[in-house]
Amino acid sequence: MEYILIIISAVFVNNILLSQFLGVCPFLGVSNKVSTAAGMSGAVTFVMAVATLVTYLLQYYVLIPLGIEFMQTVTFIVVIASLVQMVEIIMKKVSPALYQALGIFLPLITTNCAVLGVAILVVSKEFTFGGDPHMLNMAQAVVFAIANALGFGLAMILFAGLREQLELANVPKEFKGTPIALITAGILALAFMGFAGLV
C-alpha cells in the first residue's frame, strides 16, 4: 500500500517536472520528438535509481557517522558525475544496443538537476506515506526515485507529443519556439493540478 501511495504521489500529484520544477532544462531541450524524449527518460530512470541508492548509503553510513553532513552537496555531485561516467562505460561493454539508444543522453544527465534533487530530497525530507511523518527507508527511497523518474518520463513524452503537433501549427512570430512551448507546458501543468488531493 505504502509503495502504491509513493508511486501515485510522485508520478501524478507531485510530478517532478510540472509541480517541482526539477529537470526543466532537458524537458525544454530534448522534447522535440517523442522518440528522443523516451530515450532520455529511460536513461534518467536508470541513473536516478542507482544514484539514489548510492547516495542514500553514503548519507547514512559515511556522512552521518562521521558528522560531516555539510559535505553532502560536494559528495553527492561527485558521486553522481562519476556514476554517470561508469554507467556509460559498463553499458558500452555489456549492452551495445542499449548504449546506442541511451548513450548520447548520459553525459547530459550529470547536469540534470532532477537526479541531484531527488537524491537530496530522500535524505532530507520527511514523508507521510501511510501514517506519521518519517524518513524513507532504503527500499522506499529507491521506489521513490524510480517513481519520480517515471513521472519525469510521463511528462516528457506527453509534452513531446504536444510539441510534435505544435510544429505544424501556425503561431504568431513572437510566440515561435520556446515561448509557445512554455505556455503549452503551463497548460499541461494545469491539467496535472487536477490530481491534487488524490493522495
Partner: protein
C-alpha cells in the same frame, strides 16, 4: 572588449533567462515572489563570481581531460560555503528557497560560464563576466517574481497593492510556465522593435 561591455553584455545581449534559456529550474521554481527571485538571483551571482575567479586562476593547471569534474568540485565548494552562510544569516530565505540552493551546483549557467569564459580569460575579466551574467540572471528572476507576485497575490515585494486575493494559479506551478512564456513574447517583441 571594454570592461563595461563585459558587464552589460550579460544583462541584455546574453541574458541567461531571456536569450540563452539557461537555468530554467530555479527560474521557474523560486520566483513565487519578487523577494524570493531577488534572493535566488543574488545567491547564484555569488557562486558565479567566486567560481569564475577561482577557475580562471587555476585553469592552466588542470589537465583538459578532467576539467569538467574539477570545475564541478570548485562550484560545489562555493555552494556549500553559501549554504552555511545563508543558514547562519538568512535562515528564513534559506528555508523558502530550500532544495534550489544546493541545486545551484547543477545550474547550467555556472558551469557554462566556467567552461566558455573563465577557463580562457584572465581573473579580472572573469570576475566582471560573473557580475554581468549574475546581474542579468537576478534581473530576470526579479522581473518574473514581480509579475507572478503582482498577478498571484496582488502585492509587490511583500507590500499589498490591491485588496483581494489575486489569481492563485500564478503563484502555483502552471503560472510559472505561462508567465515566463508571455514575458519571453514581450522580450522578443521589444527586441524586434528596437532593431
Amino acid at each position: 572588449m571594454s570592461k563595461l561591455s563585459l558587464i552589460t553584455r550579460g544583462i541584455l545581449k546574453e541574458n541567461p533567462i531571456f536569450v540563452l534559456f539557461l537555468g530554467m529550474c530555479p527560474t521557474l521554481g523560486t520566483t513565487t515572489s519578487a523577494i524570493n527571485g531577488l534572493g535566488m538571483g543574488l545567491a547564484t551571482t555569488f557562486v558565479l563570481i567566486m567560481s569564475n575567479i577561482v577557475i580562471s586562476s587555476i585553469a592552466g593547471l588542470i589537465p583538459s581531460k578532467v576539467r569538467i569534474p574539477s570545475y564541478i568540485v570548485v562550484i560545489a565548494a562555493f555552494v556549500t560555503i553559501l549554504q552555511l552562510l545563508m543558514q547562519a544569516y538568512t535562515p528564513g530565505l534559506y528555508e523558502t528557497l530550500g532544495l534550489f540552493i544546493p541545486l545551484i551546483v547543477v545550474n547550467c549557467i555556472v558551469l557554462g560560464r566556467a567552461e566558455a569564459f573563465a577557463s580562457k580569460n584572465n581573473i579580472t575579466d572573469s570576475a566582471l563576466d560573473g557580475i554581468g551574467i549574475g546581474l542579468g540572471f537576478t534581473l530576470g528572476l526579479t522581473v518574473l517574481g514581480a509579475v507572478r507576485e503582482l498577478l498571484g497575490s496582488a502585492s509587490l515585494f511583500g507590500i499589498k497593492l490591491i485588496d483581494g486575493d489575486g489569481m492563485l494559479v500564478f503563484v502555483l506551478a502552471p503560472g510559472a510556465f505561462i508567465a515566463l512564456g508571455y514575458l519571453l513574447v514581450l522580450f522578443n517583441k521589444l527586441k524586434t522593435r528596437i532593431s
